[in-house]
Subunit: 148 residues, 2 copies
DNA sequence: ATATAATACTTGTCAAGACAACTATTGCAT
DNA sequence: ATGCAATAGTTGTCTTGACAAGTATTATAT
């Protein structure tokens, strides 16, 4: 691998990701959806999982506990999700979407669809496979190093 | 393009980028380099460009003016860069690395090299070309839409 | 020449992430 | 049964980023 070429490959990822997030945020705003991309990630995870613990929510979205704690608090305050104590283990909180939360998730889905359609224009399934493979490889390279 | 597969491709990029940044930050700390990845990006840009305006620095690092303003202030306070008013246009500031700044850049280079070597283990030049092409395509798709 | 627009940069506010430190609760070893 | 470790979550602090609004300076239109 020619390392001189990969100088700042992180910067390249960073710039692209910023564009993707800005684009999504803008689309949400244009459609009166008061969600950030990160809040959407949390809601999307809950939409798939019904009722889960905050800890699982953190693991599923690859966010740390403090970040999830704060986003959950914000979304509870806005009425999108509910949080209730677990009876068996009082350390835990069970989190789930409210009706309002499910509504905004469904309202946001076509916007996500549009954003993806635009972002992937001119790219094909092989490109997606390649991107996924490369990102997974980088992730596992770093994660495995972390453990050892 | 099968859109169902690309659901949350932004999340995938996000997770990978977080790992890359965390890994780099950890390596900096282990080597007593008191820099964040973002601060490194600024310093790296300055190392290539000698003396530039803050605005150019922002463009080169794809950060917005307020973000650059604050990182620059922080790095000036720590003695890594210097900022002096431009004589011809008093709105502008000329920014450049100090000796201390160049030193830490040189000290950080092998750490960047190590991080890249680890991150790209098992990937080849074609993978890098593919990743670059795909990221550029996504970026241009979004940017061109922005203009229209 | 003067008003207005544009440019360069700063400041304020909120969201999010990294990390350390904290509380409360539960699990486990002996 | 008691002490200690582990777990779930919260809070605090700092950094970064998005975005709006501000100041100061320069360019431009008439």
């Amino acid at each position: 691998m020619d390392l001189s070429k990969t100088k700042r490959f992180g910067v390249h990822l960073d710039v692209t990701l910023k564009l993707i997030k800005q684009d999504l945020l803008k689309r949400f705003r244009q459609n009166n959806i008061d969600l950030t991309p990160e809040q959407w990630t949390i809601i999307s995870e809950l939409a798939d999982q019904e009722t889960i613990y905050q800890r699982e929510l953190a693991a599923g979205t690859f966010k740390d506990a403090p970040t999830v704690s704060r986003i959950v608090e914000l979304l509870v305050n806005r009425g999108y999700i509910s949080r209730k104590a677990d009876k068996l283990d009082r350390r835990k909180f069970l989190v789930s979407l409210t009706k309002k939360g499910r509504d905004i998730y469904e309202k946001s889905s076509p916007i996500l669809y549009d954003a993806r359609t635009l972002g992937w224009k001119g790219l094909n399934n092989q490109d997606y496979k390649d991107l996924t493979r490369i990102l997974n490889k980088i992730s596992s390279n770093i994660s495995n190093d972390e453990i050892s």
